[in-house]
């Protein structure tokens, strides 16, 4: 019984890591530009396809695949900000949100048209194989441990970046007080562009990590629908919140899928979100800052 729970826990955490990474992308862009990027899931999907291309067609090793997908997506993310979103700066949030939904549709459309990508499902080869580790009575796939470890490494790297790198601190500063950032000579628009790049890169990483768990296909971006409640659960606008929210949703899904009746797995996440929001309307890590006058 304990072993089984441990096994479910690991499966949930591994899945939750992917939710967390997509949620992180939502939160980064939201904090910086107060826009919800509904194309986040589709950017993840596109990243996975770039990874797939590098791995199967070019035959690159796994780590090079990851670097390739992240780099290409970061460039695409920055390009999207520069070409599509910067011109609508200052328009109502609704307009910008509609545009991001549009970007998502366009990405999905383009992917189905690319020869070799199309509408089929593909398997992304990973070096982890089908090995398992036995802990107590639990059988845990090496893949899951790898997913968890790699997410932890990325999150640690991001933490160090935001805490110590000048650009990282500037990103925080810009998201906390954009006007003051302008006054200090921080090139706010360039910083926002880099946040889009960072967010797209994180999405690509999430897409590749999802590959051992699910297949690569043009609709995998709908995972964004699970990552969004993860971000809300953590308190939209909180980076640690996005990660914790993602993990919670992954774990809840994993247990609900096993213990509850068929179909509960997909709604469990939303039930948890509703329950948490009833108790804490601003989410688990919701920040409320009141300005001193």
């Amino acid at each position: 019984m304990l072993g089984q729970s441990l096994q479910l826990l690991f499966a949930g955490v591994a899945q939750g890591c992917v939710y967390a990474l997509v949620a992180l992308g939502f939160v980064l862009i939201y904090k910086a530009t107060e826009t919800v990027n509904f194309a986040q899931g589709d950017m993840m999907m596109l990243g996975a396809f770039f990874g797939l291309t590098a791995a199967t067609i070019l035959g690159w090793p796994y780590w090079a695949t990851i670097l390739f997908a992240i780099t290409v997506m970061a460039v695409i993310g920055m390009g999207l900000e520069r070409v599509v979103l910067r011109p609508v700066l200052g328009y109502p949030t609704f307009t910008v949100v509609m545009i991001t939904i549009g970007i998502g549709y366009v990405i999905r459309g383009i992917v189905t048209m690319v020869p070799g990508w199309g509408t089929e499902t593909h398997a992304l080869p990973t070096p982890f194989g089908n090995g398992v580790v036995r802990i107590g009575g639990a059988v845990i796939a090496v893949e899951q441990i790898a997913v968890i470890g790699m997410t932890a490494a990325l999150v640690a790297a991001l933490f160090l970046f935001f805490r110590f790198a000048k650009l990282g601190v500037a990103m925080q500063a810009t998201s906390q007080n954009q006007l003051a950032a302008y006054y200090m000579g921080i090139p706010v628009q360039r910083v926002n562009m880099m946040i889009w790049g960072l967010s797209a890169g994180v999405a690509a990483f999430g897409g590749i990590l999802l590959a051992p768990v699910a297949f690569v296909h043009s609709n995998m971006g709908f995972i964004g629908l699970k990552a969004f409640p993860a971000a809300v659960l953590g308190g939209f606008g909180s980076v640690p919140g996005a990660i914790v929210g993602g993990l919670i949703i992954g774990i809840v899904e994993s247990f609900a899928g096993f213990h509850l009746a068929e179909g509960f797995k997909d709604v469990a996440a939303y039930v948890v979100v509703l329950a948490v929001l009833l108790v804490r309307p601003s989410g688990i890590f919701g920040e409320t800052v009141s300005k001193k006058v």
Partner: protein, 256 residues
């Protein structure tokens, strides 16, 4: 000494609302110049136009002889002109030290930044004590000190200050003004000061302008402005003796 900053017939507007209707002023190197005016006179707009937050529709802003109007704010900061915004505008969730480091964002010389950090800690010892705290937790006066210190870290030759006394007690206001004066005298930083507290502003300023509904209506040295009848009445709230009847009438109106 020549003019370091010059505005010539600057007109700025927010959409259809014209806030500046041809403002011309000169800031000489190493001096403190103040711009007085009531709410909505266009003081903040003037500063925002200088620092590139809004582009003027007409007119020139010259910094050391070079036209800078309409340039991106980060290029203007790099040129050595930085603004202490109205209402402090610190980064609330960053530590005091990180706030200061953001002030030095445009700089590449780590040694110089470290020196200047020590310099501002000298002016504001409380910031050294609170270096690790989030800026949002500081009191209003400490936030104002942080905002000034942060601007100094860009190592500017001209600082624009927008209402540094806003919301501060008279004692703190005096402290802040003493430090503004010291920064000007000791570091040779030119200061363009916008204030509602005309009393304090005229005390420290070498030269002053009065702005009303987007136009400069009066200019003179600080000392002489402080003596002018209109200024004393409208900005300093003083009335010379002999008009008591009118004052009584005013008081009556207030009670209505």
């Amino acid at each position: 000494m020549g003019a370091v900053l010059e505005l010539a017939n600057v007109e700025s507007s927010y959409g259809p609302v014209q806030a500046l209707r041809g403002v011309s002023l000169t800031v000489p190197e190493g001096k403190i110049v103040t711009v007085l005016g009531a709410n909505g006179a266009g003081k903040t707009t003037t500063l925002k136009t200088i620092s590139g937050i809004i582009a003027p529709r007409k007119g020139q802003v010259k910094f050391r002889g070079e036209e800078i109007q309409g340039r991106a704010p980060d290029r203007i900061v790099r040129a050595g002109l930085v603004q202490v915004p109205e209402g402090r505008e610190v980064f609330p969730l960053l530590s005091v030290e990180d706030n200061l480091r953001m002030g030095a964002y445009t700089r590449r010389d780590a040694d110089g930044v470290a020196q200047d950090l020590a310099m501002v800690f000298g002016y504001f010892p409380i910031l050294r004590e609170r270096a690790r705290q989030e800026a949002g937790q500081l009191s209003g006066g400490q936030q104002q000190m942080l905002a000034i210190a942060r601007a100094l870290l860009a190592r500017p030759s001209v600082v624009l200050m927008d209402e540094p006394s806003l919301g501060l007690s008279p004692k703190l206001t005096k402290e802040i003004f003493d430090i503004i004066l010291r920064i000007n005298r000791e570091r040779g930083v030119t200061i363009l000061l916008v204030e509602q507290n005309a009393h304090m502003a005229l005390k420290v300023a070498d030269y002053g302008y009065v702005l009303e509904v987007g136009r400069i209506v009066m200019e003179d040295t600080g000392a002489r402005l402080a003596e002018k009848e209109d200024i004393r009445e409208f900005y300093l709230g003083m009335k010379s003796g002999g008009v008591r009847g009118e004052r009584r009438w005013k008081r009556k109106k207030l009670w209505r």
